[in-house]
Amino acid sequence: MYWDNTIETMEHEQMQQLQAKRLRDVVEHIYRQVPFYRTRMQQEGLLPQDIATLADISKLPFMTKQDMRDNYPYGLFAVPPSEIVRIHASSGTTGKATVVGYTKRDLGIWSEVMARSLTAAGVTKQSFVQIAYGYGLFTGGLGLHYGAEMVGASVIPVSSGNTARQISLMRDFGTTALACTPSYALHIAETMCELGIDPKDTALKVGILGAEPWSDKMRREIETQLNIKTTDIYGLSEIIGPGVACECHEQQGLHINEDHFYPEIIDPETGQVLADGQKGELVLTTITKEGMPMIRYRTRDLTVLNRSTCGCGRKLVRMSKVLGRSDDMLIIRGVNVFPSQIESVLLGLGETSPHYQLIVDRQGHLDTLTVMVEVSETMFSDEVRRLEMLEKKIQTELASVLKVTAKVRLVAAKTLERSEGKAKRVIDNREI
């Protein structure tokens, strides 16, 4: 079953014509409205009319998270502030968050692509969708919310956390579809088990899981334990939020809503565009967004594009599950975390940032982040109370910057592993 039969089953050539037209429009729009990108294009000697075909897109300069930081908060908005009806934000690489703005029409597009994704996952008007993604600046909760409303399902906006309550609502309200991170789905399953509740006694049928990488092994575990069918959903706030791409019941890759988000795969080192089927970094262009269009945005997610016909009948190009990152971003409980954010917090402690190391683990099914901080002489005190206050202070600041709790452990100076003089920043012990 499709949400939009015409688009989802559109022949490739016809789709390309649509994309080319939309690409021309968005380039024209951003060139006129965003001085930053106009300058970028001028530096390359480009005018909007130089982008006539889809192939011309490779002439255009990339956009990165750094560009968003440099233009914080509203520098990349392409409409007057009065046209912006919603603002979301996600983690920036340091300090400042990455801000995105949506017009009314953008929100409509977002709901539309989410409605497609939910339909592909098996959600209908009859469904009860429990949204256990966080609501707020994070796009997860509200993205799913408006999409599910558009489908006409009954939305249960629980937001994240409080697992016991999630489970009791799930049983009382007859939840049929669960939207959360895959690790949280496993955690729910485990908690049900502890509470002596058999998932088979609930009405759960499908899980729309995303915001973090997960393996097929994990999928089998979730599907068996919760007795549901799961689909992977992909998105990033810079592009729109969840709904950029979503799996169908074939579970053979995620269909990209390419009539809105034009995908390319590049070599992360050289920036060269790679052919379909080759693994590389996903680059996306929002060809319909008004509020804050992104041209050739480097997602840093590694994947492979597949144009073969899918068993579900959709002709939308598929991307593989995300295979990794081309930068050092970590995803902790669905939240994006950059080591540089942690560094900026530690830098605030004194004149120089102490050496640190991040240990990522999965306890049960939930990610844990431990920040090991080497105690420097300036930080050290003969009083336990002061050192504990320091630990607490780092912990509080990290929580406010990262939006995820991290445990802080003070360790002796010069004990953290360094390879060739450079500190090894991240130890990820998770088996996904």
Partner: protein
């Protein structure tokens, strides 16, 4: 009397105390008094030596996080209530004790305590009178040490 105490950060891991002690031994440093404060994750080793500035340098060179802090020391009679009396004097004056540790004084019936307080000077004035009293029974100790 105000003396200098050395403290060293100890990670909560097997062998960390031994590492510090080995460094002290290598440099032929004798320790007069010692205490360890511990939390779930780390410990703080505090000790008294003669020539604390030199010892601080030695430990710093060995890459330990080390700090030198002025603390108060006083002699107590080996009799019930001798500590209580002084502590009461301090609490009566609103002085807060961060930590303290006690140890026996070599070759005597006396005890020593090392005290970290929030107001060092004031505390010294308060307990000075007790110290005066103690001086009459002068304790003979090596000149190398503080006492």
């Amino acid at each position: 009397m105000i003396i200098q105490q050395i403290s060293v950060f100890l990670e909560n891991r097997t062998g960390t105390l031994a590492e510090v002690l080995a460094t002290l031994l290598e440099n032929n440093i004798n320790v007069r008094a010692m205490s360890v404060a511990e939390t779930a994750d780390f410990g703080i080793l505090r000790f008294i030596v003669n020539r604390p500035e030199e010892v601080e340098q030695v430990l710093r060179k060995a890459q330990f996080a080390v700090k030198i802090t002025p603390v108060l020391t006083m002699i107590l009679d080996d009799s019930p209530g001798s500590l209580l009396e002084r502590i009461q004097a301090l609490s009566g004056a609103g002085i807060n004790i961060e930590y303290f540790y006690a140890f026996a004084v070599v070759g005597t019936e006396k005890a020593r305590i090392v005290l970290k307080v929030d107001d060092l000077e004031h505390t010294q004035q308060l307990i000075g009178k007790y110290e005066e009293g103690q001086r009459q029974g002068e304790i003979e100790e090596t000149a190398d040490f503080y006492w």
